[in-house]
Subunit: 190 residues, 2 copies
DNA sequence: GTCCGATCATTTGGAACCAAATTCTATGGC
DNA sequence: GCCATAGAATTTGGTTCCAAATGATCGGAC
């Protein structure tokens, strides 16, 4: 079991390594565990309900977003699902080819594309979501309902902080400096 | 600001959509927010400190793991970083080519490869980690230290639950059924 | 009516990523 | 000593994802 030992061990070691430097330990632990938990949950769900439905995590999230929000413009779906618009184009095409999703042009604005579930897609979610939710309950089984609420609330505040002040913060950090290009992805033309 | 509105709105809509079906709302909200927070945090860090250091999230995590654990065997690093061994091979090679990481064979067991930071890598982490930690503090700014501890503890329990009971659970769910082939990755030969 | 900037979705190019296959090394029987 | 088995990292083949570039369309200004 690498479990408990490795998590807390890692935190202890990190502190030791930083003996001289003053660091924010609680915040470091919180962030590290957010990412670790997200990976664990995603992997568990991919290997249980999603695998047997032959759906990737991202595809399921997209489906879920359209399901709960109803017919939506793609850019909203991408934002809500936490993926880029380019990725959504591919995922939506896959889901469309599987008959779960419908893509129709906006009636008045020709630039927009609207996504909605087909009847098959609706049936699929009615059938699969309860199984998905069952696994959500499984991974949080060590927490009471109240603790789940507390956890969700704490995480919500993290999301809010980034959504509301993230851009401003990044601007302040760079402070006039170039935005620094990414290494991967299509190269700038010039 | 899609912020506050969209998160709680989404949760409300999901509940409405599931009017008839009994679901575990708290658990659903907890899981949804884990993933949402992880994406937000990763994106913020990639676009601030990591971008200007020309490092991907994964590369930084690998560097961090080797930094805090010291010289380590690759399979342990992969596990700790949450990536496959194959991915680590590529990432390690990139980091080696940039002079931050060293790869040396194990002195007695020729099958093993050990990773450690170069002096340049150590300097790099000494310089960049404080900035990274500063952003960890930023994203959790809406939480007190005690709340961070509570958050980390709750997430730790989720990770533990999956690590300790996940495999068993997945086996019980399939219950004899085929493991269901994955869609991506190299195909089996036969 | 036609340019022109803004705002979409889509295409494109490259890296990240995984799991199977492969290759290399160690070790235990014989 | 030799071979089979096991266990390690790496290679390979494939998908997924992002960000820049592109192409389409809208809405004004003139």
């Amino acid at each position: 079991m690498p479990g408990d030992r490795s998590i807390t061990e890692a935190e202890r070691l990190a502190e030791a390594k930083l003996g001289g430097i003053p660091i924010r330990r609680e915040q470091m632990a919180a962030v590290a565990n957010i990412y670790r938990a997200a990976s664990a949950v995603r992997q568990h769900l991919e290997n249980s309900v999603l695998r047997s439905s032959d759906l990737t995590w991202t595809a399921f999230v997209v489906l879920w977003v359209v399901w709960v929000w109803g017919e939506s413009e793609t850019r909203h779906v991408a934002e809500e699902a936490g993926i880029s618009k380019g990725t959504l184009t591919g995922v939506a095409r896959t889901l469309e080819s599987r008959g779960l999703l419908r893509r129709i042009g906006h009636p008045t604005d020709g630039r927009l594309v609207l996504l909605s579930l087909t009847d098959k897609g609706e049936d699929f979610m009615q059938r699969v979501f309860p199984a998905f939710n069952e696994e959500e309950a499984f991974v949080t089984a060590q927490l009471s309902s109240a603790e789940c609420r507390g956890l969700a609330e704490g995480l919500r505040r993290v999301v809010l902080q980034v959504e509301e002040h993230g851009e401003e913060r990044r601007r302040a950090l760079l402070d006039g400096a170039e935005p620094a290009p990414r290494r991967s992805g299509r190269r700038p033309r010039a």
